[in-house]
């Protein structure tokens, strides 16, 4: 059994006598009512040694099929990008790994400067002037942006495109019920937000209008047109929110240039592992006017008494520990280490590398989309431009069974859209790429999907034949 406590028997003796009690049990009994003080141990297995626990955790790990075990085209919000080795090395350093929130700036300049650099990188990426130091993750970042909108204009109607991630819409629903807003979901047409329905849904009671870029089925939205229409229908007070895949910002117009007031998104793609869904981080950037309503920590530059450049947590009068029930958000512990991975990753990609990576994705995705759509029995779900992910439709095919068939052969073909979306995309397949997916792998995937369709058709023909 493992222990991380340090007190030896001799220590205990000495400490108890300094405290003036004869046992730890007495120390507890002085404070905890007898009826509540347990004598029985918890019903948990006995502790184990480090190597035994390691073996157990390895067995659990081996009972999963990870991106290490199959060639994966699964995305839908988190993506199997290559994580550069310097990230493991830097995140493993005690000085970044083991401190907490930088409450004492004199001994936290490393962490604070990382936040400042991170804010700069996000501001550059989004072309918006202010960024905080991170929020939890993607979907709850959207809900936080909607809350900011409500604080800013007092309106209580949230309009969101059906192109937002289903988890985003579900999260918004939960939060909105709390802060008393109503949620209206605008449908897609041909894979993109329906412009007529969008304009019709927005009125002068609308607090925020939310669009995801690229959207959940991979389509690149005409964000400029949508934000224009939103401001026309909802007036200047309406807050436009964009939920972005940051990698795609290597090639797509940044939110600050297409009328978005608050840009948020899932940061996993920036140097973070998949980790079965977390921890990653959410980014949160906005126009200057919203600075004092931002959620979360913000690092700012200043000087010390000797005039040296330094960084502190700033604008804390927004935050829960100062403002309590009047705070702009309840967030406290956030995702600092994951945001560090984000800024190191962006530095590693660099000014030229990010567009190169995004364009590589555009090219390979275009190739994959054509290749897969050419398979007999496969159609495009929509013809909108895409960056790294696209949706197919396989009429009459049992898509979950197809996914299983392909996975049995070492490839993951992507998300069976029905699994998460239900109708109207029950026969949909969402295919995602990262730079780790090569042309050879795309070609092999096409073969496997073809085989899977063939096998299903043969099976159907046989059953029908048998009945006849």
């Amino acid at each position: 059994m493992t222990r991380y406590t340090t007190a030896t028997d001799a220590d205990r003796e000495a400490m108890l006598s300094a405290v003036g009690v004869s046992s730890i049990r007495d120390l507890l009994a002085e404070q905890i009512p007898a009826a509540l003080l347990r004598d029985d141990p918890l019903d948990l297995p006995a502790g184990r040694s480090e190597q035994e626990v390691y073996t157990h955790l390895r067995e659990l790990s081996a009972a999963n099929v990870s991106a290490e075990d199959e060639v994966t085209f699964l995305g839908a919000g988190m993506y199997d990008h290559y994580v550069p080795s310097i990230i493991d090395m830097l995140l493993g350093r005690s000085e970044f790994l083991t401190p907490y929130t930088p409450y004492q700036p004199e001994v936290s300049q490393g962490g604070l400067q990382v936040m400042f650099e991170y804010q700069t990188a996000i501001s550059e990426l989004t072309a918006l002037p202010v960024s905080n130091a991170s929020v939890y993750e993607g979907p709850s970042a959207v809900a936080a942006a909607a809350y900011l909108g409500k604080l800013a204009n007092g309106r209580t109607r949230i309009v969101v495109s059906a192109g937002a991630h289903p988890h985003t819409i579900a999260t918004l629903q939960t939060y909105a019920k709390g802060y008393g807003s109503e949620l209206v979901v605008v449908p897609l047409r041909d894979g993109a937000t329906d412009p007529q329905e969008w304009a019709a849904a927005i009125d002068d009671r609308t607090s925020v209008a939310i669009v995801q870029q690229p959207n959940f089925v991979g389509a690149v939205e005409d964000v400029a047109a949508l934000t224009d229409a939103a401001k026309q229908a909802g007036g200047d007070k309406l807050v436009t929110v964009g939920a972005y895949d940051p990698i795609c910002l290597g090639v797509l117009a940044p939110p600050g240039e297409v009328g978005i007031d608050v840009a948020v998104g899932e940061g996993q793609t920036l140097g973070n592992r998949l980790d079965f869904g977390g921890p990653s981080f959410g980014f949160f950037a906005a126009r200057e006017a919203f600075l004092r309503r931002m959620p979360g920590r913000i690092a700012g530059e200043t000087t010390d008494v000797d005039g040296r450049r330094g960084f502190v947590l700033t604008l804390q009068t927004r935050e829960q520990h100062i403002r309590r029930e009047k705070a702009t958000s309840n967030i406290c512990t956030s995702q600092a280490l994951n945001a560090l991975a984000g800024v190191v990753y962006l530095g590693w990609l660099g000014k030229d590398g990010l567009p190169e990576l995004a364009e590589l994705l555009v090219q390979r995705t275009h190739y994959a989309r054509r290749k897969l759509a050419a398979i007999d029995g496969v159609e495009l779900l929509h013809e909108q431009p895409v960056v790294r992910e696209f949706a197919l439709r396989l009429p009459g095919i049992d898509v979950p069974a197809l996914v299983d068939f392909v996975q049995d052969r070492g490839y993951h073909p992507g998300l069976a859209l029905g699994r998460i979306y239900g109708e109207p995309y029950a026969d949909g397949l969402l295919v995602a790429l990262t730079e780790q997916r090569t042309k050879q792998q795309i070609d092999r995937l096409a073969e496997l999907i073809g085989e899977a369709i063939g096998a299903q058709r043969t099976a159907t023909a046989q059953t029908t034949g048998a009945v006849a």
Binding site: S108, E117, T171, G278, A327
Partner: protein, 549 residues
């Protein structure tokens, strides 16, 4: 060495030390020159054309971008990201890291934050590819290990809390609070009641009231009695049929176990309210007593505190919740289902479950039997299943320690806190830094710097800054709010007696020094990478990003 000449040399002390019992009075100028670097950001380094990343060849026939992605949707100018080589990146961030104080280097008694040792086994197992590279939408059949682990952690947390149903989804404590308040709301609404008030003691952490507002309810403050517990008369006066819930932590943020907890529960339950337990202080009671047995209906856990996650400079964390039967139908989705392999029907699983069981994720409320957890779910609080990487660490921790190890951890946490308190008093600090409430404590305690400020002109902030020169991270300061010049000290169970002794000596030494010359503390720190920073200036004209030419 760039030590400013204005600092007398004897005021400089080693920047790292913690448990190092070097004589503190020894004059030294060993300020690490790297720490005194002039701060330049990564955006000010490198040169045009430098890079780390090299894109692989696309390998596919290139198509003109204009044909597949219209120019009006594209970015016209690239983001001005750094242009640096890998060597520059490594050097920059390693040097930056040296400007941080961290738990691996020294004592970090930050109250309410439970800065306990982070076992490195946890980092190793979390990095195994089956955990680290597992996609959150991998089919349940092919993520049996992950689901088994999550189910196992749910059972462990249920046992520790004494509440049967667990949801791991929330991302941190305050996210768990939001879940909890929304659950209480849903519970009342399902019974046709709209209750609007949430009772919070004035010792509550800021996230409690902030959460209440976000959840659309109203904060009603409850006073603290002279013993540091909930003022029962004030509670009775405020407990009415408009109360949705009370949010408490026990021990509370004063480190005091409220002996009236059962009475509090019966008052709140008596008016139909729900009891919410803020689990930030669970490290005091693991295996000793349980929130569920005290009468609480909902608990959040800060996995990053009691169940040891590296704090990462401010996260990631994880804030699972546990609830009683009556609250469980409203739990967030998805819920994890476990069935014995033999009776698992449907499609033959691609993998054979884990250790005799098959696990699945139930995503929709209508797939849950009436009344079972999630059947009237409040919905989702975030994407996917939560911070799984944190689950792996906490599951590893609880599995390593077992029932006895958890109790041992809490017992030593309480012993260490009481010992440190006794040691401080033995060294005579009581006159300037009295214990704010009571005579004993659980895993942490609150001193008041009020007398120190009045008599010596040294504020709690000054003491904290001077502690930095002694190589210690200061305790939490100015919280809880109801204590004048509060100093909240949480020594945790993984610290050795020698470390506690050295810390107590440092406080005593700072007080002795302040009696002679308060300006030393008032102007501290001296040995840190930067000295006292102008926070007012930072807030007045915020510069929150690097300007680029």
């Amino acid at each position: 060495m760039s030590t400013p000449t204005s600092i007398p040399e004897e005021r400089l002390l080693p920047a790292a030390g913690g448990s190092d019992p070097r004589p503190l009075a020894a004059p030294t100028t060993s300020v690490n020159p790297i720490q005194r670097d002039h701060a330049t950001t990564i955006f000010e380094k490198g040169a045009p054309g430098r890079r780390s990343f090299v894109a692989p060849d696309s390998g596919v026939p290139e198509v003109a971008l204009d044909e597949i992605l219209p120019a009006k949707l594209r970015r016209a100018t690239p983001a001005r990201l750094p242009e640096v080589t890998e060597s520059e990146l490594v050097r920059h961030y390693v040097r930056l890291s040296r400007r941080n104080f961290d738990l691996d280097t020294g004592f970090y008694p930050l109250g309410s934050c439970t800065m306990k040792h982070n076992p490195r086994l946890h980092e190793r197992v979390t990095a195994l590819p089956g955990h680290a590279r597992l996609h959150p939408l991998q089919s349940p059949e092919r993520s049996q290990g992950a689901l088994a682990l999550m189910h196992g952690l749910e059972r462990q947390l249920a046992e520790v809390s004494g509440l049967p149903h667990v949801c791991l989804q929330p991302s941190a404590g305050s996210h768990g609070e939001l879940a909890g308040v929304l659950l209480a709301r849903a519970y009342h609404e399902a019974r046709g009641e709209t209750r609007t008030k949430v009772l919070t003691p004035d010792t509550a952490h800021g996230t409690n009231p902030a959460t209440v507002t976000m959840a659309g309810l109203e904060v009603v403050k409850v006073a603290t009695n002279p013993d540091g517990g909930v003022d029962l008369d004030d509670l009775r006066a405020k407990a009415d049929d408009q109360v949705a819930l009370i949010m408490l932590t026990n021990p509370n943020t004063l480190g005091i176990f409220d002996p009236n907890i059962e009475e509090i529960a019966s008052i709140v339950h008596g008016v139909g309210g729900v009891l919410y337990y803020d689990g930030a202080n669970l490290n005091a009671i693991m295996g000793i007593t349980r929130p569920g047995d005290m009468g609480f209906d909902i608990v959040h856990f800060n996995l990053h505190k009691s169940f040891t996650q590296p704090h990462g400079g401010g996260g990631p964390g994880s804030g699972p919740i546990a609830v009683s039967d009556r609250i469980s139908p409203y739990l967030p989705l998805p819920v994890i289902r476990r069935e014995p392999l033999a009776s698992a029907n449907g499609n033959a699983p691609a993998t054979e479950g884990f250790e005799g069981f098959r696990y699945s994720l139930v995503e929709h409320a209508d797939a849950v039997p009436e009344g079972a957890p999630g059947s009237k779910s409040i919905g989702k609080l975030r994407g996917f299943q939560g911070n799984y990487g944190c689950f792996v660490r906490s599951y590893t921790y609880i599995t390593s320690l077992g029932a006895e190890g958890l109790r041992d951890a809490s017992e030593i946490a309480v012993l260490n806190a009481n010992y440190l308190l006794a040691k401080l008093q033995e060294l005579g600090v009581r006159e300037h830094l009295p214990l704010a409430f009571g005579t004993r404590c659980m895993h942490e305690f609150v001193l008041s710097g009020g007398p120190m400020k009045r008599e010596l002109g040294v504020k709690t902030l000054d003491l904290a800054k001077r502690l930095l020169d002694h190589g210690f991270h200061p305790p939490t300061v100015y919280f809880p709010l109801l204590v004048d010049e509060a100093l909240l000290v949480e020594p945790v169970e993984t610290e050795a007696k020698e470390t506690l002794d050295a810390f107590a000596e440092a406080i005593a030494e700072i007080l002795r020094e302040a009696v002679e010359d308060p300006t030393i503390a008032q102007n501290a720190p001296y040995s840190t990478p930067v000295r006292r920073l102008d926070e007012a200036k930072a807030a007045k004209q915020p510069v929150i990003r690097q300007p680029l030419g």
